[in-house]
């Protein structure tokens, strides 16, 4: 085989054009598939690296109205954990952002993604430390000092991979904590898609956390709870046991999970990321599979043309004694000689592709883990796919050539192309054109969707002149509400005075981000809720001039002012249009009393109605569907440690960042600036899925069109070469150049036409599948289909015209003599 490979390489070097094109197209096909498969594997299929046997993990949740609640409160978690046997240890965690400084707190706190966890978190996941230990019951005692486990990357980057880090202290959220262990490399926690590098016990939440009393209250559902199935237990058994335990618990403790009727065990998927990304990545994988098909069809066409010239060689080898198997080995060697550099090039493309994903996914809050490794499994998958594809498309037609009439070889004649080989090449070109149309139409639908989404009125104006700077006072240990209030007021004042800043304000939530914010139950005196209706609204705590900074129109009443009561019965709130229309219909909303939270006693009063603003991203319906009820309350009335500074700039907002940084250093030394960006940049994060779809499909669509064009060019060029004699005869009989060219053009365009018809059917089918992810355009939009088909027809015409023109230059004397 080595000698066959050597000869194959030697042979390919004599055909540099064919070899380069084949390797490049293979690299593209392999690279695209490898990239998407690595995303899929890292974020959807195996999203929890290093977790032992994740299929044995179950997610635990209370059930209300037949639907799982998702998260649960700490008291509910503790109560349920005591009552199960089939789940081996309940564990809980909550993802948070921590501010980490060195022990002397002289540096700016670095935001580090992490989680508060129960004691048995690491044990339940089956993950052990590489240094030190994980949590023990003693760490949960009230008298215990805060302890933390570091992530391996954090240990490497910030602590120099020092083995002596165990027992050292570090400042976490302004408090001293002892490092007790280091997690293994690659372990990122139990929430897929997040880069978690620090873990602290739940017991230390009150001291390190952001909300006092959250650990004890039943009203705050903030923990993700999971467990590992006991050996021999099934998911069904665990589900039945939890259902029974949940029913009993809600009977005994109805206050524990309001509205819950039972509990459930579900497969542990690793969070929201797999659920959100699965449909997109599946669609992308489908597209890249189509690309690979087209690539293989292209390479197959090239190899078919090549096999025509190798027919003589194969015939001679057979005459010299080569068996069919031996001939197959010769051809296989050539396939491998193309596949290996193609695969290497594909890996290089895939490395670039992984970085592209990083750039496409918006950062919001806790750092996201999108470093999907190019592991052996992914590479092996891509390589195997390629080899199988090449063998199936390259070997079969070539073996057919090896069965050719050896009398042709003995007579020394020029082997013809053979009717069956031409048919196969034509079929491949038709397939390429069809697949191209399907892929490009899909891409066009996503592009149109993206355009339509970008035109959605977000509710605020001129976002490109608003600078957003997020921060968290908890990173530096600030917890006192008075201190928070004062610090925020000083920050607003200080940054508002920066030259170039027209106005400054704060809010706890920024619209159109990746995540939605807080939801608060409420009731309206005089409004009777339906039987299963539980009114709730999203709340944004804002400074008084927020509406001015964001240019959100207040359509009735007024905005919040600095003199408004921030608490008590007269606490002022501004509601959105949906809130007013749904719950205050038929009356003047201004002055309406509202009971926020649990209970019916009004504790707020409406002072204004603001235009609806697109809240946050949770699927395309959040962007395009009706706005959900929301209200704005004074930040001063409920000061939060985490907030976002909003600065409306007269010029380029990003030019203000250095001055803002100085302001932060003056007002709150050590306080970090997180993710400075314009509101416009932030808003694009809301449709990042559609953006990824449009960009990736658009790029792939461009590539497949190029490959289909190459295929058409090749078929036409080959036909011209094969039928040189015919062209000469036609000219000798009086045909004009135009007539000769039209003969070849007509044939190739006929193939393209077949391909477009088949492709149109494919596009209609695929469009139906994509419909749920589209906006502003239907999955079977005729304009998109016809426009794309016309574009491809034009490309086909150009691709066939160029080689067909060669036929007009055939000298009939030379053409007839050459036979």
């Amino acid at each position: 085989m080595l000698s066959d490979l050597r000869y194959a390489i030697r042979s390919l070097r004599r055909s540099p054009g064919f070899t380069i094109v084949a390797i490049l197209t293979l690299g593209l096909g392999i690279g695209a598939n490898t990239t998407v498969f690595s995303w899929m594997e890292g974020l959807v299929l195996q999203p929890l690296p290093l977790v032992r046997d994740p299929s044995r993990l179950v997610s635990v949740s209370f059930v209300s109205h037949g639907e799982p609640n998702g998260m649960m409160s700490y008291p509910a978690f503790s109560a349920l954990a005591e009552r199960t046997r089939t789940v081996d240890g309940f564990a809980a965690f909550a993802v948070r952002l921590f501010g980490v400084q060195d022990r002397n707190a002289v540096d700016v706190a670095a935001p580090v993604g992490g989680a508060y966890t129960s004691v048995n978190y690491f044990r339940t996941l089956g993950v052990g430390p590489v240094l030190g230990r994980t949590f023990e019951p003693a760490d949960t005692l009230a008298s215990a000092e805060p302890v933390v486990v570091l992530g391996h990357a954090l240990w490497r980057q910030r602590f120099g991979q020092d083995a002596g880090v165990i027992g050292r202290t570090v400042r976490v959220n302004g408090l001293s904590a002892t490092i007790i262990g280091v997690a293994p490399p690659g372990f990122l926690g139990a929430e897929a898609g997040y880069d978690l590098q620090l873990w602290a016990p739940l017991a230390s939440y009150d001291r390190l956390g952001e909300r006092d009393g959250e650990l004890r209250t039943v009203f705050s559902r903030w923990l993700t709870v999971f467990g590992r199935l006991h050996a021999g237990a099934s998911l069904q058994q665990a589900g039945a046991e939890l259902d029974a335990a949940g029913r009993q618990l809600v009977r005994e403790r109805p206050d524990l999970e309001l509205g819950a009727t039972s509990a459930a065990a579900l497969p542990f998927s690793g969070g929201d990321a797999p659920r959100i990304l699965r449909p997109l990545f599946t669609a992308l994988l489908g597209v890249t599979a189509v690309l690979l098909l087209i690539v293989c069809a292209n390479v197959a066409n090239l190899m078919l043309a090549r096999s025509a010239s190798r027919r003589r060689e194969l015939g001679v080898r057979a005459a010299l004694g080569a068996s069919r198997g031996r001939l197959a080995r010769h051809l296989l060697a050539e396939c491998i000689a193309l596949a290996i550099p193609g695969a290497l090039l594909g890996v290089a493309f895939a490395s670039w592709g992984r970085d592209a994903l990083h750039a496409l996914v918006p950062q919001s809050g806790t750092p996201l883990a999108v470093d999907t490794p190019l592991d052996l499994q992914v590479l092996g998958f891509a390589m195997a796919l390629t080899v199988v594809a090449i063998i199936s498309v390259g070997l079969a037609p070539a073996l057919r050539a090896s069965r050719s009439d050896f009398g042709v070889v003995l007579k020394g004649g020029t082997p013809g192309s053979g009717v069956s080989r031409s048919r196969l090449r034509s079929a491949l070109v038709v397939a390429q054109v069809a697949l191209s149309l399907t892929a490009v139409v899909s891409a066009a639908l996503f592009v149109r969707t993206l355009r339509a989404l970008e035109l959605i009125d977000p509710g605020f104006r001129d976002p490109s002149h608003v600078l957003l700077v997020s921060t968290d006072l908890g990173f530096t240990g600030v917890r006192d509400t008075a201190v928070i209030r004062t610090t925020v007021e000083r920050l607003i004042e200080r940054t508002g005075a920066i030259p170039g800043v027209a106005s400054a304000g704060v809010a706890t939530h920024v619209p159109m981000g990746l995540f939605g914010g807080n939801n608060v139950s409420f009731s309206v005196p005089g409004y009777v809720a339906g039987r299963d209706e539980h009114p709730s609204a999203w709340v944004n705590y804002v400074s008084p001039n927020y509406f001015d900074v964001m240019r959100i129109p207040v359509v009735r009443g007024r905005t919040l002012s600095a003199t408004d009561p921030a608490a008590g019965a007269q606490r002022a709130i501004v509601i959105n249009e949906t809130f007013a229309d749904r719950y205050l219909a038929g009356r003047d909303p201004i002055g309406a009393p509202i009971a926020l939270g649990i209970g019916d006693t009004p504790n707020a009063i409406v002072v204004g109605v603001a235009r609806n603003v697109v809240r946050g991203f949770d699927g395309i319906r959040t962007l395009t569907g009706p706005a959900t009820p929301a209200y704005y309350a004074s930040f001063a009335g409920a000061p939060a440690k985490a907030f976002t500074l909003h600065l409306r700039a007269t010029g380029d907002p990003l030019a203000l960042v250095p001055a803002v940084r100085r302001a932060f250093a003056d007002v709150a030394p050590g306080l970090p600036l997180l993710r400075p960006e314009t509101l416009a940049e932030h808003a694009t994060g809301a449709f990042f899925l559609q953006r990824i779809g449009a960009m990736v499909l658009g790029a792939l669509g461009g590539v497949v069109v190029l490959l289909a064009a190459l295929g058409l060019y090749g078929v036409t060029a080959h036909a011209v070469t094969e039928r040189t004699r015919e062209a000469g005869v036609r000219v000798a009989l009086g045909a004009t150049s135009r007539q000769v060219m039209q003969t070849f053009l007509a044939e190739s365009l006929r193939l393209a036409g077949f391909g477009l018809v088949i492709g149109a059917l494919g596009a209609l089918a695929v469009g139906g599948l994509l419909a749920s992810q589209l906006y502003g355009v239907g999955g079977r939009d005729p304009l998109t289909l016809v426009g794309t088909a016309l574009l491809l027809a034009l490309v086909a015409a150009v691709a066939t015209y160029l080689p067909a023109r060669r036929a007009t230059r055939v000298d009939p004397v030379i053409a007839l003599r050459s036979e």
Partner: protein, 240 residues
């Protein structure tokens, strides 16, 4: 055994002493054309003894190359009987026929048909490789062939670097390196000028004198004179 060592034409490795090497009985080949059948060969019956030098002649379209293809076991689509060393080739399946041909037959082509991507030495090695000869022995036999045909100095050259006559010389060396029972030559001098042609035919004569059975197809009477017997074909029939 040396490639040019004389061996007795009458002593066969197997089969009956004195029995022909090749025996054809009523060989016919036809293919469908339009609504009917076109015959390429009609009732070809002949014997070729071991050590013979037979020439097949005839006008274009007479069926010479077709007959050569059948003799060379490259074309199984015929009727009639074909015995080689007493073995019924007509009854063999494709795999067995291929293996049998690999052992018994060497080809020399009009257009040389050397493999362009291989050097002279590598071209000579190909038939031995296909016969499963171990690497070491292959190298030795190739070296021997290069020496016998006086082309040692050209062993690392590619076919494109050789003249027509040199390429045909290599083609003949390749045909005999595996010591086949039969050499089939299809217009071996068709692309050579007369001086080169004479050299090639002299070589064939020497090979035949050493005991190699040769069947050639040619248009040249001069080349035919090197053979011991001439079979003439016309319109697929053997002329009496």
């Amino acid at each position: 055994m040396s490639l040019l060592t004389k061996r007795s034409p009458d002593v066969l490795r197997d089969g009956e002493p004195g029995a022909p090497l090749i025996s054809l009985r009523d060989i016919e080949k036809a293919h469908k054309a339009g609504g009917g059948v076109t015959y390429v060969l009609r009732r070809i019956t002949l014997d070729i003894a071991a050590g013979e030098f037979v020439t097949i002649m005839g006008p274009s379209g007479a069926g010479k190359s077709t007959l050569l293809s059948i003799l060379g076991m490259l074309d199984p689509a015929f009727t009639g009987e074909y015995f080689f060393r007493g073995a019924p080739v007509h009854a063999m399946d494709a795999r067995r026929r291929q293996a049998f041909a690999r052992e018994q037959i060497g080809f020399v082509f009009q257009q040389y048909h050397l493999l362009d991507d291989l050097t002279v030495a590598e071209n000579l090695s190909v038939p031995l490789d296909y016969r499963g000869v171990p690497r070491g022995e292959r190298a030795a036999r190739v070296a021997d062939a290069l020496d016998r045909f006086n082309i040692v100095g050209k062993k690392d050259l590619y076919p494109s670097q050789l003249s027509g006559g040199q390429q045909q010389l290599v083609g003949i060396a390749r045909a005999v390196v595996a010591e086949p029972s039969l050499i089939l030559a299809d217009e071996p001098t068709g692309n050579l000028h007369s001086a080169q042609a004479r050299e090639i035919m002299e070589l064939f004569a020497r090979l035949n004198a050493a005991g190699t059975t040769i069947v050639q197809v040619t248009h040249s009477e001069e080349n035919a004179a090197y053979g011991r017997r001439t079979i003439r074909l016309r319109d697929g029939w053997m002329e009496a």
